[in-house]
């Protein structure tokens, strides 16, 4: 069934969009990532104009994250206090990120920078997570208890705060810094930032994996809602028909994904996320290295 999208001004198959939404929704629920880093390239691929894809994707992430976070609230796996600290950092970072983005746009080559950003971050994060999870799985097989919560310099910082749900008593500075850093990257790369946030929470803040997913989703809702409003009012690129089709599939997928996620071991969850991140990274790197079949591309004059 073909459906015409009023803002994107293209006609696409409705079931294809429902399916894409569902698939990304499952991943979103399982790993606590918004799925933007997967969905946005997929939307480009089926012919949605990039500007519309990025803006609409933000709106869809709000829906799937909201659906996912409710499931996590029932399970009491959302650290609201940590989420709020990260969110404050995230909003500051996003504002800074927009400034950086506009500066780079003025210099040209912003597309390339975004892609390089993806390749580097996805590659490093995916690689580290993969190694770590593999070791963790080996250790549990050998019967060793996982070693966690080592005391390091992070615990020496001032302004300590108790995060009961995460079982942490640490300074608010590291989560704020993580929030700002992720906010900057999210604004530049045009995604929610879950795929950076989740590993940062696990490895830098030492939060338990089960709490990380819900807390990340909680934070993503606000960041993407902010982005949606920004795109809708300045660029007029949010396509509500496209968003509805994606989010119907997405919210259902997120519910299924959350249930799958609960049944799996933390290490397995991490290694799967790592593999997915590495796959996307590989695809992007491949596109940069291999000669494209069409060397020319069209763009709206004045934009990028």
């Amino acid at each position: 069934m073909q459906i015409y999208l009023p803002i994107a001004e293209v006609s696409v198959n409705a079931f294809l969009l429902l399916g894409l939404g569902g698939l990304v929704g499952i991943l979103s629920g399982m790993f606590g990532v918004g799925g933007g880093f997967l969905m946005t390239p997929l939307l480009f691929f089926i012919g949605i104009p990039p500007a519309v894809a990025v803006a609409t994707e933000a709106n869809q992430i709000v829906a799937s994250s909201f659906s996912g976070v409710l499931a996590h609230f029932k399970r009491k796996t959302v650290d609201l206090r940590m989420g709020t600290v990260l969110l404050i950092g995230g909003l500051i970072g996003a504002a800074l990120g927009v400034v950086v983005f506009n500066y780079l746009k003025a210099l040209g080559q912003v597309d390339l920078l975004v892609k390089l950003c993806y390749v580097v971050f996805l590659g490093v994060i995916g690689g580290l997570m993969f190694m770590e999870s593999l070791n963790a799985i080996r250790n549990t097989k050998k019967g060793k208890a996982p070693v966690r919560k080592k005391h390091n310099w992070i615990h020496g910082l001032p302004f300590k705060m108790r995060f009961r749900v995460s079982g942490l008593y640490i300074s608010v500075i590291p989560p704020l810094v993580v929030g700002v850093a992720v906010g900057i990257l999210a604004a530049i790369m045009g995604v929610g930032g879950g795929f950076i946030m989740v590993p940062a929470m696990i490895y830098l803040l030492g939060m338990p994996t089960k709490v990380v997913v819900g807390t990340s989703l909680f934070q993503i809702i606000f960041v993407t809602a902010f982005t949606t409003m920004l795109h809708a009012t300045t660029n007029y690129t949010v396509d509500i028909v496209l968003a509805v089709l994606l989010l119907v599939g997405g919210v259902i997928g997120a519910q299924i994904g959350t249930r799958i996620g609960v049944k799996m071991k933390a290490e397995q969850l991490r290694i799967l996320l790592a593999m997915m991140v590495l796959a996307v990274c590989g695809k992007l790197a491949f596109d940069l290295l291999v000669q494209p079949s069409e060397l020319y591309s069209l763009g709206v004059a004045g934009g990028h």
């Binding site: 709000v62 799937s64 909201f66 499931a71 809708a232 919210v251 519910q255 763009g299």
Partner: protein, 252 residues
């Protein structure tokens, strides 16, 4: 004022009613609704004459349909430091969002180069590219790339031999509009040519408009962007909450 004078002078200088086009359209309005999946418009007509048609040279018909024009940036990639990056770009001042040419025989046979220049019929002529930046010497390849990319998605079409002409009087053709269609006024021109020269010309417009829900959403997103954004968020939150509620009912 200048445009009006120009139009008047054109009217006077045109060959006074030797051969005149009488046109019919299957519809002069294309409505884009939610399940719009491309459309076909039928363009047909007849040639009105005072005296019998000359046998030689034979009459040919060219039909063009052009969508609203806009400036387009064409970028070129090159390998730098091992990766493919955009190295240079040319801004095409005006390129129609859609352009279709249907002819009764090969375009080169029905229209001479000078007449093409005068009336901007061929795809190359329909695109207007004035100044390429100084550092670009081969701006021609950029417009060629534009045509190649647009042709691949049926946005630009050259349909030679698709206009059927009967008895040197009646002609008809069908133009396929793709699903990805932009709103606006589609300028439609019909040329009668003999021996490569345009002997008569007719212009009309086909209006492509969004209707119903499509129209409403599009207008809202432009005129009331804040409300539209809030509505998008509300739908997103409601859908997320709804799915969660439905699933928790299932679990019990």
């Amino acid at each position: 004022m200048r445009a009006l004078l120009l139009a008047l002078s054109l009217l006077i200088s045109s060959p006074a009613g030797a051969e005149e086009i009488v046109l019919g359209l299957s519809s002069d309005q294309v409505s884009i609704n939610t399940n719009f999946d491309g459309s076909e418009i039928l363009i047909f007509g007849a040639v009105k004459r005072e005296e019998p048609a000359p046998d030689e040279p034979s009459m040919q018909v060219i039909v063009t349909v052009a969508g609203p024009s806009e400036p387009v940036t064409v970028r070129r990639k090159e390998k730098r430091f091992g990766i493919w990056v955009n190295v240079d770009s040319v801004e095409v001042d005006r390129a129609p969002s859609f352009y279709a040419i249907s002819t009764s025989t090969l375009l080169g046979l029905s229209l001479s180069e000078t007449e093409d220049q005068r009336h901007n019929v061929s795809i190359q002529r329909a695109i207007r590219s004035v100044g390429a930046p100084m550092n670009i010497t081969n701006s021609e390849t950029f417009t060629q790339a534009l045509i190649r990319i647009k042709s691949a998605s049926d946005q630009y079409q050259l349909n030679e031999g698709t206009v059927s002409v009967d008895e040197q009087t009646l002609f008809r053709t069908a133009i396929e509009l793709p699903a990805a269609l932009t709103e606006g006024e589609y300028e439609t021109r019909i040329f009668l040519t003999r021996g490569g020269r345009v002997v008569s010309k007719y212009e009309t417009s086909i209006y492509v408009r969004k209707v119903g829900l499509e129209r409403w959403l599009f207008t809202l997103s432009r005129e009331n962007a804040f409300l539209y954004g809030l509505m998008s968020l509300a739908i997103a939150i409601a859908a997320g909450w709804g799915a969660s509620a439905v699933f928790s009912v299932f679990r019990r």
